[in-house]
């Protein structure tokens, strides 16, 4: 349907119609501004958004230039998938990872600007002669081997460019595998030590003691975490109590004479209680 509209709009497809010229002179500066903004913006997210604008206007250029399939692929793949991937990575890396203003190489920016200007002048000079010398043929709807943009592209891809298409599939699979390998790659610092390696390290003497630390309350008179463990020779193991408990200030409650419950019994049950204990 787009092709029908285009064919009606431009009877001679090689000639730029007035509407296309208007689109070009509106969207061309917008795309240039987007590109400049991407290069000049300090914040990387602003750069990404400026690039999205440029890609959108390029997609409209494709559609205007009788390549509607490529235009929609541009919108879906570039602005939809690739730029979102860029934004995801920007958010993972850190949004404020802006450029440093310090020039590492002296005069690098000026040199780069001059080189870019030289490149632009060379390219424009190379193309400029074709402004008058070249007459465009245009993709006529009844042109050679052309019956609709998508149909024509499909016919081309699956006949003339079939080998390249197959290579593309291999490339995509390789890229997906490479991204997985790179994404899940963990350096040596991140590898966990297994049980066996831990035991061997203990026996090799890399730890302070071979055995694990004794738990509190083992072989002691109480099973509270505040009671230290008693070693087989009867001495107290101080490392059995967590350093946090040791460091916690304990309010001394023994010194405060409170209401004594034993006073109610008249002291006789004290002896029996101690005997039975």
């Amino acid at each position: 349907m787009t092709l029908d509209l285009l064919a009606q709009a431009a009877p001679d497809p090689g000639v730029v119609s007035t509407g296309e010229a208007v689109v070009f002179w509106i969207l061309g500066p917008i795309s240039l501004l987007g590109a400049l903004g991407m290069v000049l913006a300090r914040n990387a997210v602003h750069s990404a958004l400026a690039l999205v604008g440029t890609m959108f206007s390029l997609a409209i250029f494709y559609i205007v230039q009788q390549a509607p399939f490529l235009g929609f692929v541009q919108i879906i793949v570039y602005t939809g998938a690739i730029m979102m991937l860029f934004l995801f990575v920007l958010m993972l890396v850190g949004r404020d990872s802006s450029d440093s203003v310090v020039e590492v190489l002296r005069g690098q920016r000026l040199t780069a600007l001059l080189l870019g200007l030289g490149l632009a002048v060379l390219l424009v000079a190379a193309v400029a002669r074709s402004l008058t010398a070249v007459t465009a043929t245009g993709l006529a709807p009844d042109g050679p081997g052309y019956s609709g943009n998508v149909t024509g592209l499909g016919a081309q891809i699956f006949t003339d460019y079939l080998f390249a298409f197959e290579l593309t599939s291999a490339l995509l699979i390789t890229a997906a595998l490479g991204a997985m390998v790179l994404g899940y790659a963990q350096g040596r610092a991140h590898t966990k030590r297994g049980q066996r390696a831990t035991v061997e390290a203990r026996l090799r003497g890399e730890h302070d003691r071979i055995s694990p630390l004794p738990g509190p309350g083992v072989y002691a008179t109480g099973n509270s975490v505040a009671v230290p463990a008693v070693l087989p020779d009867g001495s107290i193991a101080p490392e059995s109590i967590s350093a946090i408990i040791d460091a916690t200030p304990v309010r001394e409650i023994e010194d405060e004479p409170g209401p004594d419950a034993r006073a109610l019994t008249g002291g006789r049950h004290d002896d029996t209680a101690e005997e039975s204990r």
């Binding site: 390029l58 990575v89 690098q108 390219l123 424009v124 402004l131 390249a164």
Partner: protein, 99 residues
């Protein structure tokens, strides 16, 4: 106006992308500049297809898009793995061909 104006626009966009690659230090922005250069080349390919009246230019632009997608995936994975160990995304700080 002829379709050749699109070629001029494409040349300017390509130059801006090249300057961005040379100037910027953030690896992700450098990557975006490379994407801009690929897009400029795509625009010129589509324009060539129109000028010549053949679809080959559009097919080439399609393949460029596919290769660009694969390149972006691998490149961003490399940037992520470098960032994970070096805590930086600047091209100045990556001086080893490993992470």
């Amino acid at each position: 106006m002829t379709p050749t104006y699109y070629l001029l626009l494409s040349a300017l966009l390509f130059s801006i992308g090249a300057v961005g690659v040379l100037v910027r230090r953030n690896a992700i922005v450098v990557f975006m500049c490379i994407e801009l250069m690929l897009n400029a080349v795509n625009l010129s390919l589509v324009t060539f297809a129109r000028i010549h009246g053949e679809l080959d230019g559009q097919v080439m632009a399609f393949f460029v898009m596919v290769v660009a997608a694969a390149e972006v995936v691998v490149g961003l994975a490399i940037i992520m793995s470098i960032f994970r160990t070096r805590r930086t995304a600047s091209v100045d700080d990556a001086n080893l061909l490993k992470y």
